[in-house]
């Protein structure tokens, strides 16, 4: 039996009295979240945007939510607004690329990702995230563009090399996985975490290998 918490009581008693609208977050009841997925997506995206409307990264995320709600015009409008605010931020392009990638728009995704290398090639976080996004879906050649760009700047980042290896392993690509695992070991041959993480990667990827 669910506990009768104060918040739960407020919601159940306030609704019939029309007081629901005055309680913060009140419309987001359990019933609401069981409803239409598109409506949930839009409402949550709108709620976030109302609280923090101007941040370019948030705009890119809202665009992603609209894309998932099959509202391409709203998604593209949000992406456009994000890029107007931050035209040279690699992470904004990465978020947009990831949004397209997750929803099956490969060409649009690669266009956005490739912009990272043109406008913000020293943004290591964006390079890593882009590399991982693409490695996880098996786009090996595209992933390695970003991974190599990162590795040229950070030659001994064994933790990130292991992430790359793991991402390739999870998409069934053993050769690039091996390359990045061996670089991680070469970088830190006496670090127990290196071997543990490689072990975990193989243990967890058995089904796809």
């Amino acid at each position: 039996m669910r506990p009768m918490t104060p918040a739960f009581l407020v919601l159940t008693l306030a609704a019939p009295l029309g007081l629901l609208a005055q309680v913060p977050g009140a419309k987001f009841t359990e019933s609401f979240f069981k409803g239409d997925r598109k409506a949930i997506l839009q409402a949550c995206a709108d709620e976030a945007r109302a609280i923090k409307p101007k941040d370019a990264k948030w705009l890119a995320e809202y665009g992603r939510a609209y894309l998932a709600a099959l509202d391409r015009p709203k998604a593209e409008a949000a992406f456009k607004e994000a890029l107007i605010k931050e035209p040279k931020d690699g992470e904004v392009y990465r978020l947009i690329g990831n949004a397209w990638l997750k929803h099956g728009f490969k060409q649009e995704a690669l266009e956005a990702y490739n912009r990272i290398l043109m406008v913000d090639a020293k943004n290591k976080d964006a390079l890593v995230s882009a590399g991982l996004d693409l490695a996880e879906v098996g786009l090996v050649v595209d992933a390695e563009k970003f991974i190599n760009a990162f590795a040229a700047q950070e030659k001994d980042d064994w933790k990130t090399f292991i992430q790359f290896g793991r991402a390739f392993l999870q998409s069934g690509n053993r050769d690039p996985a091996a390359k990045w695992f061996s670089r991680a070991v070469a970088s830190k041959p006496k670090e127990e975490e290196v071997y543990l993480e490689i072990s975990r990667a193989f243990a967890d990827s058995q089904a796809v290998l």
Partner: protein, 206 residues
């Protein structure tokens, strides 16, 4: 000085020496993934045989590599090292769940709750592990317990809702999304994560 277990574990090293140090190259990563998982777990253990969480993690790799006896030894060592650390018990439970060993998972769940009764973070993470392993009733009970210990924490609620969505348990996801919304309605990150959770069927975001 190495423990007897360490010496015992070291015996197979001779047969796989290319994996363990100088001479590791890309060729070292070919072959049976289970054997590789075990071989690297062995190296990881030998480099740090004293840390409870590390021992539990290494044990997990052995278990998934099909080496149950070694895994059980390492789990026992982990528990002995830090018997009151909830996350160690949670990691052991998670390993058993992943290996499909329900009875052992239930024992570890009991130990988790008994040995560290206020470990709300371990409970919340453990609840997700249980849900992903198809142990729904236990997952819901543990998540309720986590929430009662820390009702203002929205992030565990969203994480559990994501896991519920991945399992197509929309009823459960709805309940925990609602609780997250009540916990902190002014936090824009919450709404962004809820939108993402529904957008991607609960898949983890980066």
């Amino acid at each position: 000085m190495r423990s007897p277990l360490a010496l015992l574990l070291a015996l197979p090293l001779a047969a796989q020496s290319s994996i363990y140090g100088p001479g590791v190259d890309e060729g070292s990563f070919k072959g049976d993934p289970r054997k590789l998982a075990a071989a690297f777990a062995e190296r990881a253990y030998l480099l740090k045989p004293d840390d409870a969480r590390h021992l539990a993690s290494v044990g997990r790799s052995y278990l998934l590599a099909g080496q149950r006896k070694k895994a059980e030894e390492l789990f026992a060592m982990a528990r002995a090292r830090d018997p009151k650390e909830g996350d160690v018990h949670r990691m052991i439970m998670s390993a058993w769940i992943r290996a499909g060993q329900r009875a052992e998972a239930l024992k570890a769940l009991e130990e988790l709750q008994f040995m560290d009764p206020k470990a709300h973070r371990a409970f919340a993470r453990g609840a997700i592990d249980l849900l992903e392993g198809g142990m729904d009733r236990q997952a819901e009970d543990l998540m309720e317990r986590a929430w009662m210990l820390e009702p203002k924490a929205w992030e565990p609620c969203v994480a559990f809702a994501r896991a519920a969505l991945r399992r197509k348990r929309n009823d459960l996801a709805a309940r925990w999304c609602s609780r997250a919304a009540i916990a902190n309605p002014q936090e824009e990150k919450l709404w962004k994560e809820l939108a993402q959770a529904f957008a991607e069927g609960g898949a983890e975001a980066r």
